[in-house]
């Protein structure tokens, strides 16, 4: 068999792209895929954090039902509220699981393309087209689902609070009950809804900016093939494009990319913090609304522990401070990373190893944001769960259960349960967010289709 033409070690091969460059390109492309998919995760994460938190909060409420009741809680109302909130949680969980399945199936489908058509045996048990189509439709309405989850979830809480908080409410009159419920429902539903509507464009703008970056910054544009392999012994070298950029041009592109990435990351962080503000506004609104309502009834009930109320307000405010601090840190990181320190450039216009390190550093900045975001969600989840739990304590106190040492025990017990549930829900939300990021670090469709086409062609030819 005829041997192929010989060439010296390390020479760029036929296409002009050496193996190191190919590997670097794949690293960068993979990071870009993560970038591209970031925006798809945000809404799902928010629903997870919110719904899972609510579900955990409702556990001690179920315990309440078993405790001696002051006779003010209509059982049907409680069941309805619990069912509503759990419904939201289950729907969110199903959405997340189905999304995971959809992504997994898409990836497997791409992998199977390499092996050729599926056999009937392999195809057995797969309902891929139907499931993928269903998920596509569901994901297409993701924003609507998120908004619905906010509305239903926030409506469920006041439905629980009103009967407990309001002494001597005229339960016999549905209209009176609705009026009282409206005092709590309107601010709690309207605020998150309005806040979400305000935050959504920020998130979308930041995500679009990053998507544009992904489209416009093709890493292989920097990997310019040499005009001719001067050392080669007969291997054909691809002609250099007429607009081959030199090291200075590459450096300029790197600087521009860094600046734009830093801007995009800052916007994303700001959007996340605004989302945290919305989450924090919910318990704050409840606390203030409760305070105003009680004031209208003649002041706080006797024996009311003021410290608890301060905590109820202080927790979400503290979360806001932490969120703002996180943004300041993200800004600092972005500013630091946006200052290029090395001048790239290598033989034939190809990037040097220093340039490749630069590229990795740029996308490392995005990784900073990726790691930070779940923590912000976790903080918001803890703050929301804790402050809502504290408000539950207010409900306990007001309803008359706080009597004597046994009442104090109930308060401590419930507070502990809610605190543990809030922490657990936040940890679950963070774990889910991290898991989602890993699961979504898969190829984007357009590029992967091209790669699959290349693989198909390769295996059919060779």
């Amino acid at each position: 068999m005829k041997s192929p033409p010989q060439g010296p070690t390390g020479t760029p091969t036929g296409s002009g792209m050496t193996m190191d460059e190919t590997s670097t390109a794949m690293v960068v492309v993979r990071l870009q895929r993560v970038l591209h998919d970031l925006r798809d995760v945000q809404s799902i994460e928010a629903v997870f954090a919110f719904a899972v938190g609510l579900a955990f909060i409702l556990v001690p409420i179920a315990v309440y039902e078993e405790l001696p009741s002051p006779g003010q809680v209509p059982g049907v109302l409680l069941i309805l509220a619990v069912a509503l909130t759990f419904g939201v949680a289950v729907a969110a969980a199903l959405m997340g699981l189905a999304t995971r399945d959809w992504i997994r199936l898409r990836r497997e489908e791409q992998e199977l393309n390499v092996l050729g058509p599926l056999t009937s045996k392999e195809f057995a048990g797969w309902s891929r087209p139907r499931l993928a189509g269903w998920m596509q439709a569901l994901l297409g309405r993701r924003d609507g689902i998120v908004l619905l989850g906010f509305v239903l979830g926030t409506a469920a809480i006041p439905l629980l609070f009103v009967p407990v908080l309001v002494p001597g409410a005229p339960w016999s009159s549905p209209f009176s009950w609705l009026a009282l419920a409206g005092v709590f429902v309107v601010p709690e539903v309207a605020l998150p809804t309005l806040g979400y509507a305000l935050v959504r464009p920020w998130v979308a703008r930041a995500s679009d900016e990053i998507s544009r970056l992904r489209e416009e910054t093709d890493p292989l544009d920097w990997f310019v093939p040499p005009a001719r392999d001067a050392r080669g012994g007969g291997r054909p070298a691809a002609p250099a494009p007429p607009s081959s950029p030199g090291p200075q041009a590459i450096d300029a592109r790197l600087r521009a990319l860094r600046a734009r990435l830093a801007k995009g990351v800052r916007r994303q962080m700001l959007a996340v913090v605004l989302g945290s503000v919305v989450l924090a506004a919910f318990p704050i609104a409840v606390a203030v609304g409760t305070l105003l309502y009680w004031s209208s009834l003649g002041g706080l009930p006797s024996g009311f522990p003021t410290a608890i109320f301060v905590l109820a307000l202080g927790m979400p405010l503290g979360a806001l401070l932490v969120g703002v601090g996180s943004v300041l840190r993200a800004n600092w990181v972005a500013t630091r990373e946006s200052l290029p320190e090395k001048v790239p450039g290598g033989p034939n216009g190809a990037p040097s190893s220093a340039t490749r390190s630069e590229l990795r550093a740029v996308f490392g900045l995005v990784e900073q944001g990726r790691r930070l975001q779940p923590w912000l969600i976790m903080i918001a989840g803890i703050a929301g769960a804790f402050s809502t739990g504290i408000l539950l304590q207010i409900a306990v106190v007001r309803s008359g259960w706080y009597v004597g040492s046994s009442g104090a025990f109930v308060v401590v017990l419930v507070f502990g349960l809610v605190a543990a549930a809030g922490l657990a829900s936040a940890l679950v939300a963070r774990a889910l967010a991290t898991w989602r990021y890993r699961a979504l670090a898969t190829p984007s469709k357009g590029l992967e289709d091209d790669l699959a086409r290349l693989e198909e062609e390769f295996w059919s030819r060779f």
């Binding site: 041997s3 010989q6 091969t13």
Partner: protein
């Protein structure tokens, strides 16, 4: 020279692994020891053997006796060039020039 296909084809023949194997051979004057080739490909030995069997079955490489070295064939060199050019086109945003694959039967 060619080892017959054993049916132990890797579950997912990764083109980048194939590319690394072929490129490692090309960089070493089209001939390499198995150990050096495995290191160049960056995969574990079990997987390396399966990839090697796949490439031999497709006549892209061949094992030489008695040294046990692996040699790049002319067809393997063509495959390497095809892969490099194809990857450059796909990753360089010029994928439209690639031939279309057949329709997915599903």
């Amino acid at each position: 020279m060619t080892t017959p296909a054993t049916g132990a084809r890797p579950p997912r023949p990764d083109l980048y692994v194939v590319l690394r194997l072929l490129d490692t051979l090309a960089r070493n004057s089209n001939r390499s020891s198995r150990a050096a080739l495995q290191r160049g490909a960056g995969i574990n030995y079990t997987l390396f053997v399966r990839y090697l069997e796949l490439l031999e079955a497709r006549d892209l490489v061949r094992s030489t006796n008695p040294s046990g070295e692996v040699e790049l064939t002319a067809k393997g060199y063509d495959a390497l060039q095809f892969l490099q050019q194809g990857l450059l086109e796909v990753l360089g945003g010029r994928a439209d020039s690639l031939p279309r694959h057949r329709e997915d039967p599903r």
